[in-house]
């Protein structure tokens, strides 16, 4: 019985804090994405040749986001029946967008106007108990063209 209460408290805490953090994070992401819209990040290997050649610089942004107890539990249930693990989808989506935003922030500090050859790398950096994924890291990097 005590175990069940502890479990329910953890679940409620996970849901409450996790949900709050996620909504807040999405709000911030959407707002900052608008701010950085003038710096496109593209995956082409070569810089657009229409612009005069300029200085280049490597820029990167990385972020680590942890899952919460609720997401972990719901993903565990998903494990039994299969299907979209929507609890983790938002997690990885947030991490990708945040990493790109941080990369763009760095690019702006350089005075860049476009980032090309953008690459994303994902890894789970912390395996929790029973090898469950504890946190996800996303690294975004690319080459920024700096205005002369």
């Amino acid at each position: 019985m005590v175990d069940l209460i502890i479990f329910l408290v953890l679940l409620a805490l996970g849901y409450g804090f996790g949900r709050y953090a996620e909504l807040k994070h999405y709000k911030s992401i959407i707002q900052r994405e608008k701010e950085f819209r003038d710096i496109p990040a593209v995956t082409t290997k070569f810089p657009p040749l229409t612009k005069p050649l300029s200085d280049v610089e490597l820029v990167s942004g990385s972020v680590v986001i942890s899952v919460d107890y609720f997401k972990n539990f719901i993903a565990g249930l998903r494990n039994l029946v299969g299907g979209r693990v929507t609890a983790y989808e938002t997690l990885v989506d947030r991490a990708r967008r945040e990493a790109i935003l941080r990369m763009k922030e760095e690019a702006r500090a350089f005075g860049g106007h476009i980032i090309f050859n953008v690459k994303l790398e994902t890894s789970s950096i912390h395996k929790g108990r029973k090898n469950g994924i504890g946190a996800v890291e996303v690294l975004a990097y690319g080459t920024v063209l700096i205005k002369q």
Binding site: Y15, R37, K71, I74, L77, R78, T86, V92
Partner: protein, 297 residues
């Protein structure tokens, strides 16, 4: 090609569904399946118990007997004698080869004997002292072995164990904790209760095997007379054994009926016990051993 940088709408890579909705759907579905499985298993527990491999039952018994004090490395001669007799009876009852019978001698005054999980039989000194010849001892053993043969112990452990074992099969880590819990809740091995039908079934099998072994069932009724005396004379310490058994009188009548059917019975001689039998049964000097006091719980 013209480069454009459109605003990407939300919700492509993520789901707009509220996480709680998914939670309740999943929980409801999985709990429903689990509950349905439990209901089906408990309804069919008695029938399914027979299909539990005996090997698994023995493992289960080991987990419980581990809690008992270790038996001396050298088993007493009485145990060797009883095991030898048990092997003969097991052969007569055509026990499947994987069903191993282990007889334990309990140095205690109780007039009792019982069979439990994993083919373990416990014979108390109190009962053995009162049996005058081998046929009576064989009747006790045959009766308890018949319980094992018909898988009565595992069936009597009931729904809890079936459920625990079902979970053990699904998940080994969760399952072990679960069966331990179930077994400890069931109060261990010594309080197994058999139904009257099971007792009658065991009596019948026992008589058949005795007839096969000795050619008659002379002396088999003695067991119940002894039990009756033990029942009336002393303060009763293990009521389970007697209360769930059919009335001794009925059982004696049953044996006599069996004798009447098989004509050879009347003139038959009973097999004698080994000369050292009485010597084997001298109680240990220290009086009650730890084993017997544990078993009484």
């Amino acid at each position: 090609m013209e480069y454009s940088n459109p605003e990407i709408p939300e919700g492509i890579n993520t789901s707009t569904q509220h996480p709680l909705k998914e939670f309740f759907l999943l929980m409801g579905g999985i709990l429903g399946i689990v509950i349905a499985a439990v209901v089906v298993l408990t309804l069919l527990a008695d029938r399914l118990a027979v299909y539990i491999p005996f090997e698994l039952e023995m493992q289960l018994a080991t987990r419980v007997t581990d809690g008992l004090p270790a038996v001396e490395v050298e088993s007493p001669p009485i145990e060797n004698y009883l095991n030898g007799l048990a092997d003969k009876i097991a052969a007569a009852q055509e026990l499947p080869p994987e069903m191993q019978i282990t007889v334990h001698y309990v140095d205690d005054d109780l007039v009792n004997a019982f069979a439990t999980l994993g083919g373990h039989l416990f014979m108390f000194r109190g009962l053995l002292e009162k049996l005058p010849h081998e046929n009576a001892v064989a009747m006790v053993l045959a009766h308890e072995i018949a319980h094992i043969k018909h898988r009565h112990p595992i069936r009597s452990m009931g729904r809890g164990v079936i459920f625990g074992l079902a979970i053990t099969m699904v998940s080994s880590t969760l399952g072990n904790a679960m069966t331990d819990q179930v077994l400890s809740n069931a109060g261990g091995l010594t309080v197994l209760k058999f139904t009257r039908d099971q007792e009658t079934e065991a009596d019948q099998t026992a008589l058949n095997s005795l007839y096969q072994l000795y050619g008659h069932v002379e002396g088999a009724d003695l067991l119940f007379e002894v039990l009756e005396q033990g029942n009336g004379g002393e303060q009763l310490q293990m009521p389970e054994f007697f209360s769930t058994h059919p009335l001794s009188e009925n059982r004696i009548n049953h044996i006599h009926a069996f004798q009447a059917e098989h004509a050879a019975a009347a003139t038959a001689d009973v097999a004698l016990l080994p000369d050292e039998y009485a010597k084997w049964l001298i109680p240990a000097i220290e009086g009650e051993t730890a084993t017997s006091s544990t078993l009484k719980n």
